[in-house]
Amino acid sequence: MLINDLILRNPLRLMQADSTKDTLRPGAFGAVLARAGVGKTALLVQLALNSMLEKKNVLHISLQDPVNKVSLWYTEVFHHIAQQYAVSQANELWDTLLPHRFIMTFRVEGFAAAKLEERVNDLSEQGIFTPNMIIIDGYPFEQDMGAALSELKELAGRRGCHVWFTVRTHRHEAPEQFGLPRQMSDIAELFDIILQLQPEGKDIHIKALKVPGTEAGSSKLFLDPATMLITNSH
């Protein structure tokens, strides 16, 4: 009951017309845009936990935080969820989820598709871990990364997994077409889904900037600013 309930909270499922299509196809990219500190990582960690509940493996790559800090995000978000849904044996559930997650951290300058592929191959060849979903947190979108992103897309396609990115936007930059920030406008076609976290008053809206079948700018979901959990009411 709990697991299904949690799975049903997947924001994509609620946002898309077809409620069964809750994950991206292999090789597809998704992005969560927001200013610093609004909740990009929290949102992606919830997507990751959602996949882990479905027994799908998540590879979380952070280019800014150490393993401990990333791990702490998961523990915190999971505990908030467990509290909200009054999960009775949270520790046992947590133990069953953990093997579905692997954290890798790289330095921004040392991160490239070739290196990632080498690491992922290492893990899957030894039967340690084969990802179904990859999260890349802290990717340097400020720089011209078109070619590097295409390589990552090919890699994701080959490995049969989809990739979610966090994209940091800046207050002082005016959005371009469809509300996309400047650094995304040239590479928007690489992404199947683009979500934006927009603080409005006390609420944080999860806006669809690019979601197939959904009107751009629409928003049905929110992040609870206290727990950073996804809710559909405020």
Partner: protein, 694 residues
């Protein structure tokens, strides 16, 4: 002894194993004229560094015991505690940090912030020890102090600011630029004893100016005066040091110095920084617990005229008996006085007082407030508090982790037997994480500790220092049992075999409880079990926990609730209810779905990137769960959680996998249920062992 407390520094030198902290201490003692020649840790000359006074430490090139020593530098008196770097000896590190006012965090300029530095840093945070960082080994190939500063910020969250700039790096390291005085410093003479001040080389000037600005920017956040002076471009050395000191004391800034202890570069400026930036005893707020007032904290004042409060933080067995290192927090510890051991309630007459320099000593008459010294011929354990008779306070009890590994010991001959007892008596007093007991069934002496290396070191010490011939069994993991569901009981103990009978009925339930060993709740109403028998019921259950019915491991995490029962006016007794409780537990325990728990260790392996696949494979084979990998350029750190039972002999495996280039640290993380297949194996082993005993 200096009367001015503001010129006293009690500091520790903490770091990852092999960062060169013993070499650094050695150089400090040399430049402060405490020793007159320099030896290397793994001495080619067969002498060894001065701080590693134990023979074993010399041989292995590691520091086990935190020997305390003192030295003088430019009118200041510095007491230094050399702390062990291996995680197996963490209690030693923690105990040292408790008595320190400040610390030097030594980092390797090649290895950077390694896993043990992270552990040590967390401990420093816990005890709020202000620190300055010293980036050592700048002469080694691959040295990169900037990277280490970045890691200090990113990995440890320190607001690290460089006070120096290296002049040359790796083999070309010549000296350092002092960014406060804006001078270049070179170290001349055979052992770098002469510091030569020069103008900053042209090639480094731009970089030095830029770094100094960054330094002033960072420091001015904590001083309005400095901020104003910076705007008027009239920053003086005094002003800058004052601001830096203020921020360092509150741990808001970590000043970073650099050099190479081995090449005798940068040590004197480090000593200057210790005197300028680290706290004196009066700068630090220490607290004791008032034992007469529900352990309320009481602030201690670093004043020799107040009543005495001192902590025994380290014991050593010397040729003249037990040497007890103490830190006096308040009052004065003087020769001939009678003091009280607050933890044991014993009065002691202070005999000889000494000040230590590794294994040489100097007689003194008193240890004033804020100082570290040693007492002779006092019987106590480490962690005990000494006070003047009449006051009843104790210094905070230190957190002591439960041991996770045990080993059976036996003596080869009678003579050794006596020596083993002496040694064990000493070690358990010195180190609260090291415990010993005799197994009632097998008669074997069991020692317990925090890891394989921890126990190995003590066994070696028995052989060397106590000349005891010891035989050891296989290391054993400290398994435990617990229950996973609620189960009810209703048990009657009845015996009528002539004479007075025994009768007691007890009913209720047992259920799992988190974070507690044992909880007993009495919900009896209406006196179905008379009140005087309730403690006997509790004792009956408690007795059962020592040895679980499943596999004889201690049982934890059990809550017992009794809510009904019956008694007989003649036949009921404490003994009858104790027996009823034991019967009830035995009957209901299997119904509560018992499981065996094993200690899971947090293991961090640091390896060159090219071996990371192999290392991950080796961790995975050990029933480990790899949490993640951290890429640090040429090196990579892999974090995993692995059952302790699978970690025996891992150091050898890791060495052969990585050509000896990787290292790992391991610390206790939590207890987790053992998989069924392993439980079956344990059951098999236990029954074999029982047969052997029979």
């Amino acid at each position: 002894m200096i009367a001015d407390q503001s010129k006293v520094r009690n500091i520790g030198i903490s770091a990852h194993i092999d960062s060169g902290k013993t070499t650094l201490t050695e150089r400090v003692l040399y430049y402060t004229h405490r020793i007159h020649s320099i030896h290397d840790v793994k001495g080619k000359d067969g002498v060894g560094a001065t701080m590693d006074s134990m023979e074993l430490e010399k041989e292995r090139g590691i520091t086990i015991a935190s020997a305390a020593t003192f030295c003088q530098w430019k009118g200041h008196e510095i007491n230094i505690i050399d702390t062990p770097g291996h995680v197996d000896f963490t209690i030693e590190v923690e105990r040292s940090l408790r008595v320190l006012d400040g610390a030097i965090l030594v980092l390797c300029s090649v290895g950077g912030v390694q896993s043990q530095s992270i552990t040590v840093d967390q401990q420093m945070k816990r005890y709020k020890v202000p620190c300055i960082a010293f980036i050592n080994k700048c002469d080694r190939s691959g040295a990169n102090p900037d990277r280490v500063i970045r890691q200090l910020r990113e990995k440890l969250g320190h607001n690290a600011v460089a006070l120096q700039l290296p002049i040359g790096l790796e083999a070309d390291l010549e000296g350092v630029v002092d960014l406060v005085a804006m001078k270049a410093l070179y170290f001349d003479g055979e052992n770098g004893e002469t510091v030569r001040e020069e103008e900053i080389p042209e090639s480094l000037m731009a970089s030095a100016v830029e770094r100094r600005e960054a330094l002033i920017d960072a420091a001015s956040m904590f001083s309005d005066e400095l901020m104003e002076a910076a705007l008027e471009e009239s920053v003086t050395e005094e002003l800058l040091y004052a601001a830096l000191r203020k921020a360092t004391l509150t741990r808001e800034i970590t000043p970073v110095l650099m050099g190479s202890a081995y090449k005798n570069k940068g040590i004197q400026p480090l000593l200057d920084a210790v005197t300028h930036l680290l706290p004196c005893p009066a700068d630090v707020q220490n607290e004791a617990l008032d034992m007469d007032n529900a352990e309320q904290p009481v602030a201690l004042v670093t004043d020799s005229k107040k009543p005495l409060v001192a902590l025994a933080f380290k014991l050593e067995d010397g040729q003249y008996g037990q040497l007890t290192y103490v830190r006096v927090y308040q009052g004065k510890l003087a020769k001939g006085e009678t003091i009280l051991n607050a933890n044991r309630g014993k009065k002691i007459k202070v005999g000889r007082l000494v000040r230590m320099h590794a294994d040489q000593m100097e007689e003194i008459d008193a240890i004033p407030a804020g100082y570290i010294g040693a007492l002779f011929g006092v019987d106590c354990a480490s962690g005990d508090t000494f006070v003047n008779p009449g006051i009843n306070v104790s210094l905070t009890s230190m957190f002591v982790p439960e041991p996770v590994i045990s080993l059976a010991l036996s003596a080869k001959d009678n003579h050794s037997q006596t020596n083993i007892s002496k040694a064990l008596n000493r070690f358990t007093k010195e180190d609260p994480t090291f415990r010993t007991h005799v197994n009632q069934e097998t008669g074997e002496t069991i020692i317990e500790g925090m890891g394989e290396l921890h126990l190995e070191i003590y066994i070696e010490r028995m052989r060397r220092e106590y000349k005891a011939e010891v035989e050891t069994g296989q290391p054993r993991v400290a398994y435990r049992e617990t229950i996973t569901r609620r189960a009810e009981f209703n048990y009657t103990h009845k015996k009528q075999t002539g004479g007075a009978g025994q009768f007691g009925r007890i009913a209720g339930y047992i259920e799992p409880v988190e974070d507690e060993e044992f909880v007993f709740e009495n919900r009896i109403v209406g006196g179905s079990i008379p009140t005087q028998f309730i403690p006997a019921c509790e004792k009956g259950f408690r007795d059962c926990l020592q040895k679980g019915p499943k596999l004889d491991f201690p049982v934890t995490g059990v809550k017992v609730v009794i809510d009904d029962g019956a008694s007989h006016s003649v036949d009921s007794s404490e003994m009858a209810f104790m027996a009823a409780a034991r019967g009830a537990f035995r009957e209901t325990y299997p119904k509560a779905r018992p499981v065996v728990l094993e200690p899971i260790m947090k293991v961090v392996v640091e390896t060159p990137s090219e071996f990371q696949g192999a290392v991950m494979g080796s961790l995975n084979q050990r029933r480990g769960m790899i949490l993640g990998s951290q890429d640090e350029g040429p090196m990579c750190a892999i974090e995993a959680q692995i059952p302790l039972a699978e970690m025996f002999g891992y150091s050898t495996v890791l060495r052969s996998l990585t050509q000896g280039k990787a290292q790992f640290t391991m610390e206790f993380s939590s207890y987790k249920p053992v998989p069924q297949s392993i439980t079956d194996e344990l059951v098999k082993k236990a029954s074999e062992a029982k047969q052997k005993v029979a």
